[in-house]
């Protein structure tokens, strides 16, 4: 089976450590992730607000390329990219006329049968079953798993009964030895794109998330989305000014947590790239 890999723009820019840690984890597990050659933008938030056809064509081209390279599965770590690709696949499957139109535009045909996996699905399928042998230095602290909005939505495609109260990341973290705390902000909004236009909103929304995690004793917040990470980590000064207090809880990607538990170095996990220093030697 060939597992494809679609990094998307964030993983090559602001969240390089997400990319690095994922590849490092895959490498330890002996899994090859084959990056789609000549991949393009997923369309992001802009495309489906401005041009519906484009919003389908862009991800569709990536799917078609993956098919050409005979990939059976496609791992899409960025939650937003994943959402766009999955929605496109859904739309192409539901609406043959749109599929025909897009195929015409792209001059490519689609079987549309590739299994698209977000990072949690990838981990659950390929890494979790082997964690017992792969975990070398179990994590020993309390964490708050933060899912955000896109990992579990839209419901009609994801068909996850627990989309208001997901557990997948919590269960992975338990397996790494950490204690995933019960907290109410798992799927609250981080402020998302307001990060650029109205930073103070991010300060408030992400602030409440960070505060709840800290107050409930978490030593780290675990995420699986570049946007979430961006807001909780890089916007920390805005958060602190909203909360009127200094907060040093680090925000790590789930792949980084696994990398650390596997005994990889901070360098390999990419934790040195964060704005909020990752200092997780504190034992319970």
């Amino acid at each position: 089976m060939k597992i494809g890999f679609y990094p998307g723009c964030s993983l090559t820019g602001s969240s390089r450590e997400y990319n690095e840690s994922l590849l490092a984890v895959a490498k330890v597990a002996g899994i090859e992730l084959c990056e789609i050659s000549d991949w393009n933008c997923c369309g992001s938030t802009a495309a489906h607000n401005l041009n519906r056809e484009l919003s389908v064509s862009l991800p569709a081209r990536n799917l078609a390329l993956a098919e050409l390279e005979e990939m059976d599965e496609l791992v899409v770590p960025c939650a937003a990219c994943y959402n766009r690709l999955v929605m496109t696949q859904h739309e192409l499957a539901e609406k043959p006329e749109i599929k025909a139109l897009i195929e015409g535009k792209l001059k490519m045909t689609l079987r549309n049968d590739i299994r698209i996996l977000n990072v949690l699905q990838f981990l659950e399928k390929h890494i979790v079953p082997r964690l017992d042998e792969l975990v070398k230095s179990p994590l020993t602290y309390d964490v708050a798993c933060y899912y955000g909005c896109l990992l579990v939505r839209p419901n009609q495609v994801m068909k996850d009964e627990r989309f208001e109260d997901p557990m997948t990341m919590d269960l992975i973290m338990q397996k790494l030895g950490a204690n995933a705390i019960d907290w109410p902000f798992k799927t609250e909004c981080c402020g998302a794109g307001f990060s650029v236009s109205k930073t103070e909103i991010v300060g408030e929304l992400s602030g409440k998330i960070v505060r709840s995690a800290v107050d409930r004793g978490a030593k780290a917040i675990v995420v699986a989305c570049p946007m979430c990470h961006f807001n909780l980590d890089m916007r920390r000064p805005v958060i602190e000014s909203y909360l009127q207090r200094k907060i040093d809880i680090p925000v790590i990607y789930i792949t980084q947590a696994i990398a650390l538990a596997m005994g990889l170095s901070a360098q390999q996990a990419g934790t040195q790239r964060h704005f909020v220093p990752v200092n997780l030697t504190v034992n319970r």
Binding site: Q156, D182, P184
Partner: protein, 666 residues
């Protein structure tokens, strides 16, 4: 040789506006086998019918075709007219020139031609029509009522009071259903048990009602007027004749910590128990799953203390066969298991409860004797948040439908709480307030205006605990969609009303249909709301769809009236459209070779075997035989029979073949 009369109806202008009816009549007149044809303004009018009768007599017609509206509309009318003129009603058929022709096509040559084709087609059939005679079946004047909630109680009493026998089957140890669990009822706030228990007692004492509690339907066979029901009487481990209901066994039973079903888990019961003090019958049953003796083989304390020696540990389930003429299904509903909504914290936080649990808290007979105390620490909650539509109107996680009763009972809950805890504060998150019903809207207004219940239009996204409080996060869509957070002491979820877990299986046992949510389907959403598609089986109450008490009682009385109508006759007349296995001269006797594949294909188990014997009584042949009482006339066996040995009256091989030939040969 057929002498068919063809009558073309103008239907005012409904047909004649697009079809040249005169030409149709002309063309029909030229067809082989047609003796007479004409057109008329309104065939269904008195003069129209008289014309048919007159022509039957005058021309000696052997068949009649009325080319007018759909036979689903007027076939009985014209068949009756023919019958009164001495022609067998089944010699009359209708050609559908209105719904299938004039209303769906524009005026044109092709439309008239199609009308001619349709008439010719039917002439082809009617040539082979045979006189048929309606089938009489006897009626067993006993009704089976399944379910002893308010619906079943009402139906049973009505049928019994009409003078007929009733067998009421209830799966729990007592009748009463959900209504017996309720505290007060909207919109009058009268005590539910006070109005229900007299009815329960009446059922128990009624000479025409036989009550089987702790019993379930095992099998239902037969057909309208002639059902055979098998009831499983679950072992109560009690000799009911000896038991006096003194209750000594209950007080002495050592297993006391079983969550009480009646109190929705908020109270406890013993292993030998009556569900609630006013139970009917007021005699205990032993819950085998929790009884120490059944579990470990030791205890038998109840047996030792029973003054009448009524305990029977060796009692087994008993199967009772009943002959009944009609069935009323009144199996009620259930409330949705709210654990699906983990974001509301049900199951995680003790003080998040369902509406039905709140009923028990508010009930004078409940675990708190009617005081509103929260389950976690028994404190009186200062602030309660009610979440309406927990699972209703929620296609993504719950049920897409409205559960209909929640708006009203939630208003009632808040009101009861305000009446009991004067300084308390109650907030209701709602989508819409649906309070259509007599005095319902006034009731809700009273909750808002007089009892100060705070209504917030918006949904709740999350309930979590913080510093001993339940934080309810929601949105107020009427205040510029501001997020709201309320610190509550208790949260009540108005969980969706759903079909009982065994509903699907029960429907399949009875061969009645059910909808996507497993509620039983009525025969017609408007005009046959209490009938099912299976004749003789009727619906009452929330097993058909969520409904409140007055609506349930009305439907239950409606179902009872239907049963009484059925029982008002000694015999039923059935359409003689049934299958028949042919007979032929010896040595064949029948062309049936007895492969009995028709019997496996029959949806009604209407095909059995017949042994053809000679004069000496020796079996010469084993052939299939259709029971005309069971056969519903679908004809599946006919299309299946390889040797064409089964045929169906009214849609016979000759009729259908000739119809196809006539259609395609102009």
């Amino acid at each position: 040789m057929s002498k068919i009369g063809v009558f073309i109806c103008h239907c005012g202008e409904n047909i004649s506006a697009t079809v040249d009816v005169v030409r149709v009549a002309e063309a029909a007149g030229k067809l082989e086998g047609v003796e007479f044809s004409t057109d008329y303004k309104y065939m269904c009018s008195d003069p129209g019918q008289t014309l048919i009768k007159q022509m039957i007599k005058e021309k000696g017609l052997t068949g009649v075709i009325v080319a007018a509206c759909s036979p689903r509309m007027h076939e009985p009318t014209f068949r009756k007219a023919c019958s009164s003129a001495g022609l067998n009603p089944y010699m009359c058929e209708m050609s559908n020139l209105r719904e299938h022709c004039s209303w769906v096509h524009d005026k044109s040559e092709a439309t008239t031609q199609k009308a001619i084709d349709l008439v010719r087609t039917l002439v082809g059939k009617v040539k082979y029509n045979k006189p048929l005679y309606s089938i009489k079946v006897p009626v067993t004047k006993t009704a089976l009522v399944i379910g002893g909630g308010i619906a079943g109680i009402q139906s049973s009493l009505d049928i019994a009071n009409a003078g007929h026998q009733v067998v009421l089957v209830e799966k729990d140890p007592s009748i009463g259903g959900h209504m017996s669990q309720l505290s007060e009822t909207f919109p009058t706030l009268d005590c539910s048990q006070c109005i229900l228990t007299p009815r329960m007692v009446e059922v128990a004492q009624h000479p025409n009602i036989k009550l089987l509690t702790y019993a379930e339907l095992e099998k239902l066979e037969g057909f309208i007027g002639n059902f055979k029901a098998t009831i499983r009487k679950k072992a109560k481990s009690i000799d009911e004749d000896l038991c006096t209901g003194c209750g000594t066994c209950i007080t002495k039973c050592p297993t006391k910590k079983i969550p009480s079903e009646f109190n929705t888990g908020l109270g406890k019961r013993t292993a030998i128990y009556v569900p609630f003090p006013q139970a009917v019958p007021n005699k205990p049953v032993i819950d085998k799953e929790n009884c120490l003796y059944y579990k470990n083989g030791k205890c038998k304390i109840c047996e030792k203390v029973c003054p009448t020696g009524a305990i029977r540990f060796d009692q087994e389930d008993e199967l009772v066969e009943l002959e009944v003429g009609a069935v009323v299904v009144a199996t009620g509903f259930d409330v949705m298991e709210p654990s699906k909504f983990s974001e509301y914290g049900y199951g995680k936080y003790k003080d998040v409860i369902t509406g039905l649990q709140f009923e028990r808290l508010a009930s004078a007979s409940g675990p708190t004797l009617g005081e509103i105390r929260r389950p976690s620490d028994g404190k009186i909650p200062e602030k309660i948040v009610f979440v309406a539509c927990a699972g209703s109107r929620d296609p993504s996680k719950g049920k897409p439908y409205c559960s209909k009763i929640c708006c009203m009972y939630t208003a009632k809950h808040a009101m009861l709480y305000q009446h009991k805890v004067h300084h308390g504060e109650s907030t209701i998150f709602y989508m819409d307030i649906r309070s259509a019903g007599k005095n319902y809207e006034e009731f809700v207004r009273r909750a808002i205006v007089e009892d100060d219940v705070k209504y917030i239009r918006g949904r709740v996204s999350k309930v979590y605990e913080e510093n001993g409080k339940l934080i309810v996060k929601g949105v107020d869509t009427l205040l510029n969609a501001k997020p709201v957070e309320i610190q509550a002491d208790m949260v009540v979820l108005a969980t969706a009303a759903v079909a009982n877990s065994g509903a699907e299986e029960l429907a399949q046992k009875m061969h009645i249909s059910y909808d996507a949510y497993n509620f039983f389907s009525e025969a017609h959403p408007k005009l046959k709301p209490v009938e099912t598609n299976t004749a003789g089986i009727f619906l009452a109450g929330a097993c058909q769809a969520p409904k409140d008490i007055p609506e349930t009682v009305s439907q239950a009385s409606g179902a009872a009236a239907k049963v009484a109508i059925l029982f008002s006759q000694d015999e039923l007349s059935r359409e003689p459209v049934v299958a028949v296995v042919n007979r032929s001269a010896p040595p064949l006797y029948s062309t049936c070779v007895g492969c009995f594949m028709c019997a496996t294909a029959c949806p009604y188990q209407a095909i059995g075997e017949e042994l053809i014997t000679n004069r000496k009584g020796e079996v010469i042949k084993r052939v299939a035989k259709v029971n005309p009482g069971l056969c519903q006339g679908c004809g599946t066996c006919v299309a299946f029979c390889r040797s064409k040995s089964i045929d169906i009256d009214g849609y016979s091989n000759e009729q259908m073949y000739s119809e196809v030939m006539a259609l395609l040969n102009d």
